[in-house]
């Protein structure tokens, strides 16, 4: 088994990559603008749907049920698809999927294929495999085309070229399409794309697609899109190959009634996207006469063993969590080093690879919960992020070097200190002494060594001379000396006293600095 997710194995850790992205003010402006537009649109159309919460719940419940019986539903899908004239192939990992697809393409003597947006093909690095085999993949989704022509990487699940603004896209088109002139309006760009690809749509005989849903009870496949490039790839070629992650299966045709409401509203903020295509096997006299489905595992089955991890596979790839995420909105998608960016990428990429790569991603979050709130299938992303952070730490600690590294030792000590009052009090005294050289005006500035991470972007409040525990002890002593007071008055005194104590702490801190 060699699970691979895009180029994650060689990508730099998130904080390093994010540092670079944050320096690029044009990129930050583009990402900010695009995500603001889409969040506002999404907000409006979600507001319109009075039963939104019920739809989310149903979307979640259907996926949860499906994944609990994934083997059964996949076999149902396979049987029905093949009965309708399709051929189903199975791939354990990226290499196996690539080799199945290449084998099929060689059999059809392909030199070119037209592709409709498939994240899964990016996951397995299909384009590189095709190019190595001298087969030209032609991306037909506008954003994917921008990425391909500009030799760039996708930065968003739904809008891969979200980090490019109109002027930058125009430059790429002028340069790569061999145009003499091109207007500056958005429609000038879409017209250019229409003209550029029309010839290929009419001529190329093999299409390659992903799938939004594989329908078990009919054996059908559903692709959701906007531009019509999907319909072109799904309809005009004689051969169609569809790459489907095994988690994309849904039990019934009827279930589309839920997802065809939640997906478009979440993805592009539309009540419905312009086109949804559903086809089942081969249809005589209509569309491709050779149809292959490649069902891909590539690490997905590893997430089935745990109730929480399994939720990751509920994802319908709408991208709403990216747009809602305060971290993604600052850094854009490239910093995640994976074709799956944002909060969903932060839980999906490391898990697909059994936590071997993308290990910094579960930390790329402030755990604010915005992703969970907008998720149309209610994936508890914040809880999963914490769960995966735990996994990263436990894997690290499982080696001797890991167990002896300073952070790990410090955390073990902290864990003991929080369990014992005497150790805690002693540690506090020690810290009060240790902080002395770094305290200025009651605040701790930049710290050296492994503590540096805490103070890199903000100052910390110094540990006060007088802790609450100390104050409480003194207060109780004083109260007992004065012979005790009624409960009501005592409470008032205590709150007055704590205000005084708080203000004296500030003064002390200040005088200390």
């Amino acid at each position: 088994m060699s699970v691979r997710v895009g180029k994650t194995a060689t990508a730099p850790a998130f904080p390093i990559a994010a540092g670079g992205a944050l320096e690029d003010s044009q990129l930050r402006r583009n990402v900010k603008h695009a995500t603001e537009v889409i969040r506002a649109k999404r907000g409006r159309v979600v507001e319109e749907a009075a039963d939104w919460e019920q739809l989310r719940q149903a979307g979640h419940d259907i996926k949860a049920h499906t994944l609990r019986h994934l083997d059964q539903y996949l076999q149902q899908f396979e049987a029905n698809c093949e009965r309708a004239g399709g051929k189903v192939h199975w791939a354990r990992d990226a290499d196996e999927a690539n080799s199945i697809i290449l084998g099929l393409l060689r059999g059809y003597q392909a030199t070119e294929v037209i592709k409709v947006k498939t994240m899964t093909s990016d996951e397995i690095g299909l384009n590189r495999a095709l190019e190595a085999a001298k087969i030209e993949p032609v991306e037909t989704d506008l954003a994917d085309m921008i990425i391909q022509l500009g030799a760039d990487e996708p930065s968003h699940i739904v809008v891969p070229a979200l980090h490019k603004n109109r002027a930058e896209i125009r430059e790429i088109f002028l340069d790569k399409m061999g145009l003499d002139h091109l207007g500056t309006e958005a429609t000038d760009l879409t017209d250019a794309a229409r003209h550029y690809l029309r010839e290929k749509f009419l001529r190329v005989e093999i299409g390659l697609s992903g799938a939004n849903f594989a329908i078990a009870d009919t054996g059908g496949v559903c692709v959701v899109e906007s531009e019509g490039n999907g319909r072109m790839c799904l309809t005009l070629p004689d051969v169609l190959i569809t790459l489907v992650g095994i988690e994309k299966v849904i039990p019934g045709f009827q279930d589309l009634e839920v997802y065809l409401q939640t997906l478009p509203r979440s993805a592009t903020g539309e009540r419905m996207n312009p086109y949804n295509s559903i086809w089942t096997g081969v249809h005589a006299g209509d569309g491709p006469q050779h149809f292959h489905v490649v069902l891909l595992d590539n690490g997905r089955t590893e997430m089935l063993a745990n109730d929480l991890e399994r939720e990751t596979l509920d994802c319908i790839r709408c991208g709403a969590c990216l747009n809602a995420c305060p971290v993604y909105r600052e850094t854009g998608g490239h910093a995640y080093g994976s074709i799956y960016s944002g909060p969903i990428g932060a839980i999906l990429s490391p898990q697909l690879q059994s936590m071997e790569h993308s290990r910094s991603l579960p930390y790329a979050s402030s755990l604010c919960g915005a992703c969970y709130e907008v998720c149309p299938v209610k994936i508890n992303i914040p809880e999963l992020l914490i769960h995966l952070r735990g996994k990263v730490v436990r894997t690290d600690q499982s080696t001797l070097a890991g167990a002896l590294n300073p952070e790990s030792l410090a955390m073990k000590f902290a864990s003991r200190a929080f369990q014992s009052t005497s150790v805690y009090v002693a540690a506090q005294r020690l810290a009060r002494l240790g902080q002395a050289p770094f305290v200025r005006k009651g605040m701790i500035g930049p710290l050296p060594g492994m503590f540096g991470g805490w103070t890199k972007f903000r100052d910390l409040k110094a540990i006060p001379k007088h802790s609450f525990r100390d104050w409480w002890k003194d207060h109780e002593k004083a109260r007992q000396k004065s012979g005790g007071a009624g409960p009501v008055r005592s409470a008032t005194n205590a709150s007055d006293a704590s205000r005084r104590a708080a203000s004296s702490e500030t003064k002390e801190g200040a005088s200390h600095g």
């Binding site: 603008h33 009075a50 994934l70 059964q72 921008i146 906007s226 319909r231 072109m232 095994i246 019934g252």
Partner: protein
């Protein structure tokens, strides 16, 4: 090529193994069906909205996503279509087999999906056709969607894709309020090719703004005919 048979067995075995680790037993077909039936679906299936409201909503939502809507009486369909063609200075149109002949406009050259040898038109020939006129299977008011199942009167999928203008006739009795009702309408034909169309081709890929017109038809005209 990789050995797909062993891959199939391996993936299925791995799924079963991991699910068993999570204490999820394999179930019989009957148990599976029963569990599926128990999934709560408390979302709206569409209320019995009054007909006027429904058609008003359908029209408003179609127009909101750049479709052009014309209302017609049952004997005014041909004229309404003629009006849409005239507005585009179009004198020819592709019409699939099974489209009601009484709806065909006068003075317009009707093209068929057939070449001199009686074969379907090739892609290049189809690309030379500007307008196609079809019926539909259902309309969804809330989302401004029309559904094709590519049966008689609707043509194979390419016919409503390659030409730049798509004019379709929707009978008022075909319009439902919600997506669940729309899906229900086509459920019996679920294994036919199906296309949901909501407005003309568009993209949101440039600065997240819906821009009309990329590869599919850039004009969608809907004739809404008051007829059962």
């Amino acid at each position: 090529m990789a050995d797909s048979t062993s891959a199939r067995a391996a993936v299925l075995a791995q799924i079963r193994k991991r699910l068993t680790e999570s204490s999820i037993p394999a179930s019989t077909d009957a148990e599976l069906a029963a569990e599926y039936q128990r999934i709560p679906r408390s979302y709206s299936r569409g209320a019995a909205a009054d007909a006027d409201h429904l058609l008003h909503l359908f029209t408003e939502r179609l127009v909101d996503y750049d479709a052009e809507v014309v209302r017609a009486t049952s004997d005014g369909v041909a004229q309404a279509i003629a009006g849409l063609l005239a507005a585009a200075s179009e004198r020819r149109a592709m019409v699939p087999e099974g489209f009601p002949s009484e709806w065909l406009p006068q003075g317009v050259e009707i093209l068929r999906d057939q070449d001199a040898n009686g074969e379907q038109l090739g892609h290049e020939a189809l690309d030379g056709i500007k307008t196609v006129i079809t019926t539909v299977s259902a309309g969804i008011a809330q989302t401004g969607t029309i559904i094709l199942e590519h049966s008689a009167g609707q043509g194979r999928r390419a016919l409503t894709l390659v030409p730049d203008r798509h004019i379709c006739v929707v009978r008022t009795s075909q319009v439902v309020e919600s997506v669940p009702e729309g899906v229900e309408r086509i459920r019996a034909q679920a294994t036919q090719p199906i296309t949901f169309i909501s407005g003309p081709s568009a993209t949101s890929d440039i600065e997240m703004t819906r821009i009309r017109g990329v590869h599919g038809p850039r004009f969608l005209g809907v004739v809404l005919v008051e007829q059962a």
